[in-house]
C-alpha cells in the first residue's frame, strides 16, 4: 500500500519520537509498525528527512549504529515534537471523520 501524499513526514516524526535513529532504522521501523502494510520506498525517505531538517523539525548528528558502524542519526527538535502532536491530532481527527463516513450507519444495520 502506497503512502498518502505528505504522510511520510508525520511517520518519520512519529518514529523519532521514541529516540534517535538513522535512515535505515527509520524505514524499518515504519514498515514494522505498520504491520508491513505500508511500503516505504526507502529512497523517498531522504527528501523527507531533508525537508524536515530544513523546517527545523529534526536535527542530524553523527553517531555509532548498533553494529558499531558510523551513521547519520536524526532526532526530534522541540518544535518537531510540537509539530508531531499537532499533526498527529489532526490525523486522528481526520481518520475518525473518514471512519464515520465509511462506517455503515448504525440505524441501517438494525
Amino acid at each position: 500500500m502506497d503512502l498518502l501524499q505528505g504522510t511520510l513526514d508525520l511517520l518519520v516524526l512519529q518514529t523519532l519520537a521514541s529516540g534517535r535513529a538513522h535512515g535505515h532504522a527509520i524505514a524499518q521501523s515504519i514498515e514494522q509498525r505498520s504491520r508491513e502494510i505500508l511500503q516505504v520506498g526507502h529512497g523517498s525517505l531522504y527528501p523527507a528527512l531533508q525537508r524536515l531538517l530544513r523546517q527545523g523539525l529534526i536535527l542530524a548528528e553523527d553517531g555509532q549504529s548498533d553494529n558499531n558502524r558510523r551513521a547519520r542519526f536524526y532526532r526530534l527538535t522541540p518544535r518537531g515534537r510540537r509539530q508531531l502532536s499537532l499533526e498527529a491530532s489532526k490525523w486522528q481527527q481526520f481518520s475518525t471523520a473518514i471512519g464515520y463516513i465509511l462506517a455503515p450507519p448504525a440505524d441501517e444495520t438494525n
Binding site: 535505515h24 524505514a27 526507502h42 529512497g43 531522504y46 527528501p47 531533508q50 530544513r54 551513521a71 547519520r72
Partner: protein, 877 residues
C-alpha cells in the same frame, strides 16, 4: 561551493550505508549475496532520484524564501513609489559622486605612477628661510657621481632634456629627447613592452654613451605604427643614427609622453643641470641622507655662492609622490572636493536614514498586525532586512552607472596638465564598495532599529494607537528633525564653498593681464644646438625668420622672445647704479625683439621702445616694467639709468651663448606697463627687457599678432621656417588666449565641481525637508482636524506647518553658517587664492536655502490647509 559539495557527499555516503545495512540484513535472513543486493536496491528505489529530490529541497527552500522576501520587498517598494524613487536617487547621487571623485584622486594623487615603490623615491630640495622652497634641486652633471657615492644612498639616477631633431624619411620633427643615466630603468623598475631598456652597459667605461634609443609608446605608435620590427631600426636624431633597442608600455612616461629615452654620458666637466632622484640604503633614515646631502650642498655653495640662497639653507628630501604635477593647487583643491563629496555622501545617507525611519515608523501598525497573527520575529526582521538591502543594492547599481559617467566627466573636465601623464583614471572599485557599504549600513540601521523596537511585545499599544503619534513616534519625529537640520547644515557648507569657488573664478577672469591676448599665435622654434652652434648663426636665423614672418599677409606684428612670453622667464641677480646690491634680489629678464610691445599689446608708459637697429646690433639698452621702475627710489627717474644684470655675462649652462666680451651693464630707455608675468594669481615681478641678440638659447618663442584668426597663419609660418632650413620644424603652436585660459582652468574645475556638488546637496536636502514635513503633517492630521473643527482657519494651519519647517531650517542654517566660517579660515589660503566671504555671498546662501526649504514644505502645507476637518478627524494611521 564547498559546503554544498560537503553536504552532497554526506548524503551520498548516507544512502550508500543505508543500502549496505539492508544488504546485511537480507544476508542475515539467508539470501545469497546477489539476491540480497538486488532486493535492497529494489526496496530503495531510484537512488539518483532520491538524491536529486533531496538536493532540490536544500536549494529550493532556501531560494524560495529569498525569492518570497525579494518579491515582498519589491512589492513594498513599489507600493510607496515616492519613497523608493527618492531613496534610490539619494543613493545613486551619493554613491556615484563620491566614487567618481575618489577615483580621480586615486588616479592622480594616490597611485599616479607605474614605478616600483614610488613612495621610496626621494628628490633633493633646498629650503631657506628667506626663499620659500625652491622645489626639486638640480645638480650639475659632474656632481652626479658624488651623490651616488653618498653612504646613505643605495642608488641614484639622473635625468635631463635635450632638444632633439628627428630627420630621415619623414618630415623633420623636433622633440625633447630624455637623457637618463644607465641605471635609470632599473631604478624605476618598469619592464619594456618590446626589446630591452637602457642598461648600465649602454654607457661605455670611458663615459661615452652607445647610440641607442628606447621609444615611448606614443612615439612608437606614431612613427612605427606600433610595429615590433622597429627594434633594430635606426633613427637619425640630431644627425646621429641611433639604434632602437626597446619600446616602453603605454603607462610609462618618465619626463615625456611623446618622445624617447637615450643614455647619458658620464662627464666630469659638464655643468648641465640634472634632475636627480635617490633611493635610500635600507635602515638609513631620510634625515641622515639629508645631512649627507647638506654636506655636498655646502661644498657646492662655497664654490658657486650665486646658485644658493644667501641667508643659509638646509637640505631636505622630497618624496616623489609629493612632486607630481597634480600636487600644489590641484592637490589641495582635490582634497577639498573630497571633503565636499564626503558631505554629499553624508547628506545622501541622512536622507536614506530619514526615509527609512519615517517609513518603518509608519509601518509600525502593519508590523504589529503581522506579529499578532503569528509571523515569527526572525522572519519579519529578515523581510525588513531584505527590503533595506534590496533598496541599497538597487541604489548601488544606479550609483555605479552614475559613477562611471561622472568619473569620465570629471576626468574630462580636469585640465590635462594637472594629470600626471602616467596616471590612469578609472572607477575605483574599493571606493565603490566603501560607499555602497556605508549606504547599506545606513539603510539597515535606520530601517531595522525602529522595526525591531516596534516588534517588541507592546503590540496592543501600537495597535490601539493606530499610528496616531504615540510617545515613541514623537521621539522619532524629533530624530528626523535633527537629521534634516544636519542635512541643511551640510548643504549650507557646500553652498558656501561653491560661492567661494565661483567668486574666486570670476575674480580671476576679471583680472587684466596687462597684455592683449586676442589674435596672437605663439610657436616654439627649437634649433638643434649642434647645427646652430654659434651665437651668430642662431641670431642670423632668428632675424631672417622674424623679417620673413613680419611681412606675411595677415600679420600685424611679430616678435621673438625668451621670457615674458607672456609668463615666466630667466631670473637674474642684478644691481642698480647708486644703490646697495640686494644679494637675494632677482629680476625677470625678457630677451625680445623690437616689436615685442606691439605684438603682445603692452602699452609703453614712459620713454621709448627698442629700435630695430638696437636689437640687431645687440646694443645694451633695456625696457623695464612699472614694478621694476619702483626699484629706484621715489622721485628718481629710471630712464637713462644703468642696471647690471649678472645673467648677461654669466648665463650658466652650456646651451646659452653670449657675445664675446659681453658686459652686464645696460641702460634703461623706456617703461612698459605691468603684465601678470608670474601667472594671473601672482603679483607682478620686476622685469627687464633686453635685445634678444644678447643671449642665444637654442629654442626661441615666436609671437605673431594677426588681423584675423591667428591659427590661419600657422602654415605660412611653418613654410617660412622650411624656406630658411628645410629640416627645421616648429613646435607647440598655441594662441595667447589659450595660454591665458590655462591659468583659469583649475579655478573653473573647482567651480564646476563645487557648484555641482552644492546643487546635488541642496536637492537632496530639499527632498529631506519635503519628506519630513509631509510625514509630520500626516502624523498631526488628527490634531489639525481637531483644530479646524474648533475654528482654526487655513492660514492658521499653514502657520503650524511652516513653523515646523522654520525650526528645522533655522537650526540647520545656524550650524551650517558657523561651520562654513570655520572651514573658510582653513581653506581660503590653500585653494581660493584671494576670495573670501562677503555679506552678499552668505546672504545669498541663506536666501537660496530658505527658498528651497519653503518650496519643499509648500506642498505638504497646502495639503494640510486644504483638509476637510471631518476627513482629518476620521483619519487613521
Amino acid at each position: 561551493m564547498t559546503w554544498w559539495k560537503r553536504r552532497s557527499d554526506r548524503l551520498d555516503d548516507e544512502i550508500q550505508k543505508h543500502i549496505e545495512f539492508e544488504i546485511e540484513q537480507n544476508v542475515a535472513a539467508g539470501m545469497s549475496a546477489a539476491e540480497a543486493r538486488s532486493a535492497a536496491l529494489k526496496k530503495f528505489g531510484n537512488v539518483s532520484l532520491a538524491k536529486e529530490e533531496s538536493r532540490e529541497i536544500w536549494g529550493w527552500l532556501w531560494l524560495e524564501r529569498l525569492w518570497q522576501d525579494v518579491v515582498y520587498g519589491l512589492r513594498g517598494l513599489a507600493h510607496s513609489p515616492g519613497f523608493t524613487v527618492v531613496a534610490l536617487l539619494s543613493l545613486m547621487l551619493g554613491i556615484g559622486a563620491s566614487t567618481a571623485l575618489f577615483s580621480v584622486v586615486y588616479g592622480v594623487l594616490i597611485a599616479p605612477y607605474p614605478y616600483q615603490k614610488p613612495n621610496e623615491i626621494w628628490a633633493p630640495a633646498i629650503v631657506s628661510p628667506k626663499e620659500p622652497s625652491n622645489g626639486w634641486r638640480q645638480y650639475p652633471r659632474r656632481e652626479f657621481p658624488a651623490i651616488q657615492k653618498l653612504p646613505g644612498v643605495a642608488t641614484a639616477m639622473a635625468t635631463t632634456y635635450e632638444p632633439t631633431l628627428l630627420t630621415g624619411d619623414g618630415s623633420p620633427e623636433s622633440f625633447y629627447g630624455v637623457l637618463v643615466t644607465g641605471n635609470a630603468f632599473e631604478f624605476l623598475g618598469v619592464k619594456p613592452l618590446v626589446g630591452r631598456t637602457i642598461q648600465p652597459f649602454d654607457v661605455r667605461p670611458d663615459g661615452t654613451p652607445e647610440p641607442v634609443v628606447v621609444l615611448n609608446y606614443q612615439f612608437w605608435q606614431r612613427i612605427f605604427n606600433g610595429d615590433a620590427d622597429a627594434i633594430g631600426k635606426k633613427l637619425i636624431l640630431n644627425d646621429v643614427p641611433r639604434t632602437v633597442v626597446g619600446v616602453m608600455p603605454p603607462r610609462f612616461g618618465w619626463f615625456t609622453d611623446d618622445s624617447f629615452w637615450m643614455p647619458m654620458s658620464v662627464d666630469l666637466t659638464d655643468e648641465t643641470p640634472l634632475n636627480v632622484i635617490v633611493r635610500l640604503q635600507p635602515g638609513v633614515s631620510k634625515e641622515v641622507v639629508e645631512q649627507q646631502l647638506q654636506g655636498l650642498n655646502l661644498r657646492l655653495a662655497a664654490e658657486k655662492p650665486q646658485d644658493f640662497p644667501k641667508g643659509g639653507f638646509r637640505t631636505s628630501l622630497l618624496n616623489y609622490m609629493d612632486i607630481t604635477v597634480a600636487s600644489g593647487a590641484m592637490k589641495s583643491s582635490l582634497h577639498l572636493l573630497l571633503v565636499a563629496v564626503g558631505f554629499l555622501l553624508l547628506i545622501a545617507c541622512v536622507n536614506v536614514a530619514n526615509l527609512q525611519l519615517a517609513r518603518t515608523t509608519a509601518r509600525a501598525r502593519e508590523i504589529a498586525v503581522r506579529l499578532s497573527v503569528g509571523a515569527s520575529r526572525p522572519r519579519l526582521v529578515r523581510q525588513l532586512l531584505t527590503e533595506s538591502v534590496l533598496l541599497s543594492v538597487l541604489g548601488g547599481a544606479l550609483g555605479v552607472l552614475f559613477a562611471i559617467a561622472a568619473t569620465r566627466a570629471i576626468a574630462a573636465l580636469m585640465p590635462d596638465f594637472y594629470k600626471p601623464n602616467e596616471a590612469r583614471i578609472t572607477m575605483n572599485i574599493y571606493v565603490l564598495l566603501f560607499s555602497l557599504g556605508v549606504s547599506l549600513l545606513t539603510g539597515i540601521l535606520f530601517g531595522l532599529t525602529p522595526a525591531l523596537r516596534c516588534s517588541r511585545p507592546d503590540l496592543a499599544g501600537t495597535l490601539k494607537d493606530g499610528g496616531r503619534g504615540s510617545v515613541g513616534s514623537a521621539g522619532g519625529q524629533k530624530v528626523r528633525g535633527w537629521l534634516v537640520a544636519a542635512e541643511v547644515a551640510l548643504s549650507v557648507i557646500l553652498l558656501a564653498g561653491a560661492s567661494l569657488a565661483i567668486r574666486s573664478f570670476s575674480q580671476l577672469t576679471r583680472i587684466d593681464p596687462g597684455f592683449q591676448p586676442q589674435k596672437t599665435l605663439m610657436v616654439n622654434v627649437p634649433l638643434p644646438p649642434k647645427r646652430y652652434a654659434t651665437l651668430e648663426r642662431r641670431n642670423r636665423f632668428a632675424r631672417s625668420l622674424l623679417e620673413g614672418v613680419s611681412v606675411l599677409p595677415g600679420v600685424e606684428a611679430a616678435a621673438l622672445g625668451n621670457g615674458g612670453m607672456p609668463f615666466g622667464g630667466p631670473r637674474s641677480a642684478y644691481s642698480i647704479d647708486g644703490q646697495l646690491r640686494k644679494e637675494d634680489g632677482r629680476i625677470v629678464v625678457g630677451f625680445i625683439s623690437n616689436d615685442y610691445p606691439r605684438t603682445l599689446g603692452i602699452p609703453l608708459k614712459r620713454g621709448r621702445t627698442l629700435t630695430a637697429e638696437e636689437v640687431a646690433d645687440g646694443t645694451h639698452v633695456a625696457l623695464i616694467n612699472q614694478t621694476a621702475a619702483k626699484l629706484w627710489s621715489r622721485g628718481e627717474n629710471p630712464l637713462g639709468r644703468r642696471i647690471r644684470l649678472d645673467l648677461l655675462n654669466k648665463p650658466g649652462g652650456s646651451q646659452l651663448l653670449i657675445p664675446a666680451g659681453s658686459t652686464s651693464d645696460i641702460t634703461v630707455v623706456g617703461i612698459l606697463g605691468d603684465t601678470t608675468n608670474a601667472g594671473l594669481r601672482e603679483a607682478t615681478l620686476p622685469a627687464v627687457y633686453v635685445p634678444y641678440t644678447l643671449l642665444a638659447p637654442p629654442t626661441r618663442v615666436l609671437a605673431v599678432r594677426t588681423f584675423g584668426d591667428p591659427l590661419s597663419v600657422l602654415n605660412a609660418v611653418r613654410q617660412k621656417l622650411r624656406d630658411l632650413d628645410k629640416d627645421q620644424p616648429l613646435a607647440r603652436p598655441i594662441t595667447l588666449e589659450q595660454i591665458l585660459g590655462f591659468q583659469t582652468v583649475q579655478p573653473r574645475f573647482n567651480m564646476a565641481l563645487f557648484s555641482c556638488f552644492a546643487a546635488l546637496g541642496l536637492a537632496l536636502a530639499a527632498i529631506g525637508i519635503y519628506s519630513v514635513i509631509s510625514y509630520g503633517v500626516a502624523q498631526r492630521m488628527h490634531e489639525i482636524g481637531v483644530r479646524m473643527a474648533l475654528g482654526a482657519r487655513r492660514g492658521d494651519v499653514l502657520v503650524i506647518v511652516l513653523r515646523m519647517v522654520a525650526k528645522v531650517a533655522a537650526v540647520g542654517l545656524a550650524i551650517g553658517l558657523c561651520g562654513s566660517i570655520a572651514l573658510e579660515r582653513v581653506v581660503r589660503f590653500q585653494v581660493f587664492a584671494a576670495a573670501s566671504f562677503d555679506f552678499a555671498a552668505l546672504a545669498g546662501v541663506v536666501l537660496v536655502l530658505s527658498v528651497v526649504a519653503l518650496l519643499a514644505a509648500w506642498l505638504p502645507a497646502r495639503r494640510a490647509a486644504g483638509l476637510d476637518p471631518v476627513t482629518a478627524l476620521r483619519h487613521e494611521a
